[in-house]
């Protein structure tokens, strides 16, 4: 048997510091490891001894792309511990803020990071040379999302206006209505972008695996819902720890999650869509239909289109919320400290983000657990690569390597939420 090893020094368009090792024998991938070697960031330890009201500001720093998700899960979990509910216009504003983050994050990934894979371009710059108007349109859509986060969060990155119980300041009606013209034009451009993305060739790769996401009785899930799956999971988020466990693995500093008794699963846009397509707005459902999507989809490469549908939905939902907005009387609900355990999960752009806090009677954090979507998906990403063995073996080596990188980018992994490199080692062993 001969062995060939190929090294790619830098895999761009992925967030995080790690490496992917593939060993291919004949038409089988015999080993796939997404090795995360970035040092643990110890945010959970950092939270211990801090006031529970600090959680949104501290956890927002975990990620520059999805800080709202961290703020939302942190707020809901602490509010669960304190017995507080945030309703009405404040709840709507939180949902609007989340819409802004979905738009920002998804469009960045779709247009600048992932579309080049489908068109055989090495990077966004080459894509921009060939399709400048598409890239400009994507940037305009992203900008509409940025504007939401900037208005409600105080700034686009690591927003500072979110607090447990609501906000420090809420916008007036005129301020928020000023977003509408750009959101309406962005919605049309998002639909056109999705139609363009739908013309791409998608590798045939359907995998029936357990997909996990929140499901809400009336809404496409963002801030709330029960945790459901394609394989029968239907639990209160407070039961998360009884059904989903995290384990250390030798090749990664990040924990791997699995469902007790069943194994790996996947969260993220595809899971959300499959479980909640009936909760999308009529306009987003129509956009999905035009893009050729339906809830039977199990192809992770088509997650590009799901993100596109979610952008249309987020813009539609943002417009709906703004159209019905009346400023709340108070920017936040009052809090009373008490001992307790609080848990929450919200839907970050990349999937379900779970937080759990144990507070003492002064509201000081004594235990903290944060389970981000990428750690939940790591095992599933590795399994994708194993399942792609036949596909990879049939391709010339450079194409196989590109396809493997492409498959990882399907999940838009945010490996550490703040880092730089993913190095890919691709080893092919050929039977002699």
């Amino acid at each position: 048997m001969t062995t060939r090893t190929i090294q790619v020094d830098l895999l761009a368009r992925v967030e995080g510091e790690g490496a992917l090792s593939l060993v291919l024998e004949g038409d089988r991938v015999v080993d796939a490891k997404l090795r995360i070697f970035e040092p643990p960031r110890l945010f959970e330890a950092l939270l211990l001894g801090r006031a529970c009201t600090e959680t949104p500001d501290i956890t927002a720093r975990i990620c520059g792309i999805c800080p709202v998700a961290y703020e939302m899960s942190a707020c809901h979990a602490v509010e669960d511990a304190l017995g507080v509910r945030v309703e009405g216009a404040l709840r709507d504003l939180r949902r609007l803020l989340y819409c802004g983050e979905w738009i920002e994050s998804h469009v960045l990934h779709m247009v600048l990071l992932h579309a080049p894979d489908f068109l055989g371009f090495p990077d966004a710059l080459t894509l921009a040379r060939h399709h400048p108007e598409r890239v400009k349109a994507g940037l305009r859509v992203k900008k509409a999302g940025n504007a939401i986060v900037r208005l409600l969060g105080g700034r686009e990155i690591h927003p500072v206006n979110v607090k447990v119980g609501g906000f420090y300041r809420v916008p007036g009606q005129a301020e928020i209505a000023a977003l509408l013209p750009d959101l309406r034009s962005a919605r049309e451009e998002a639909e056109e972008t999705l139609s363009w993305l739908a013309t791409f060739d998608f590798p045939a790769f359907d995998r029936d695996r357990e997909l996990v996401a929140l499901r809400h009785p009336a809404e496409y899930p963002m801030n709330e819902g029960r945790l459901g799956s394609t394989h029968g999971l239907d639990i209160d988020v407070r039961e998360f720890g009884a059904h989903i466990v995290e384990e250390q693995v030798a090749h990664s500093t990040a924990l791997h999650a699995r469902i007790v008794g069943r194994g790996s699963y996947l969260c993220g846009p595809l899971a959300r869509y499959v479980l909640n397509a009936d909760r999308l707005s009529a306009r987003a459902q129509a956009a999905a239909a035009r893009a050729g999507l339906d809830p039977s989809c199990r192809n992770p490469f088509r997650m590009l289109l799901v993100r596109g549908v979610e952008v249309v939905y987020a813009l539609d939902e943002a417009i709906r919320i703004i159209d019905s907005y009346a400023p709340p009387a108070q920017a936040c609900v009052p809090l009373a400290m008490r001992a307790g355990t609080g848990q929450a999960a919200t839907e970050a752009p990349r999937g379900t983000l779970y937080h759990r806090y144990v507070l003492d009677d002064g509201g000081v954090i004594r235990q903290a657990q944060i389970t981000p979507p990428t750690s939940q998906n790591q095992r599933g990403m590795e399994e994708d690569l194993v399942a792609m063995g036949g596909m990879l073996a049939s391709l010339p080596l450079e194409e196989a390597r590109a396809r493997a990188e492409h498959a990882i980018r399907n999940y838009d992994p945010c490996i550490s939420c703040s880092t730089h490199f993913l190095t890919l080692a691709f080893e092919q062993r050929e039977r002699s």
């Binding site: 992925v14 040092p39 600048l112 710059l125 040379r129 890239v135 940037l139 700034r155 703040s418 730089h420």
Partner: protein, 157 residues
Amino acid sequence: MNGPRGAVVLGIGQPMAGDDGVGIMVARRLAVRGLAVRESTDASVLLSLLEEGRKVVLVDAVLGPGKAGDVIRLRRESLTSEVTPLSSHGVTVLQALDLARTLFGEAAAGAVEIVGVVIERPEASAGELSPAVAAAVGPAATLVASLAAPSDQPVTE
């Protein structure tokens, strides 16, 4: 593209990665002084600003040459050959500049001034600047402010 407005200071970096956050710290210092400031871990915001016709003074951490704390003015050409601003996410400063040139033309890309603060390799979980880099925030802010100053347009944001 919209007509030009005042210059914007764009601080790039990740404050939770120690010295990588120096660009953000410079931007915050200038925000206190009333300059129009944006912060980002992602250089794609540069594209939006250039599309709007804004002059941008970008400040970021750089790896060598020089010693930690040196404040240097960079040209786009030097980013490929000598020093490279760090970017913690998918769109680097260099990529954003090249995209701007491709999408909006040479003039738009030329409306960017780049100031770098030399750092050692950033540590992922360090929350503070090292003493040498912290001492450079003031001089970097002075240089950035001088580059942002105009001319004939009031700074508005």
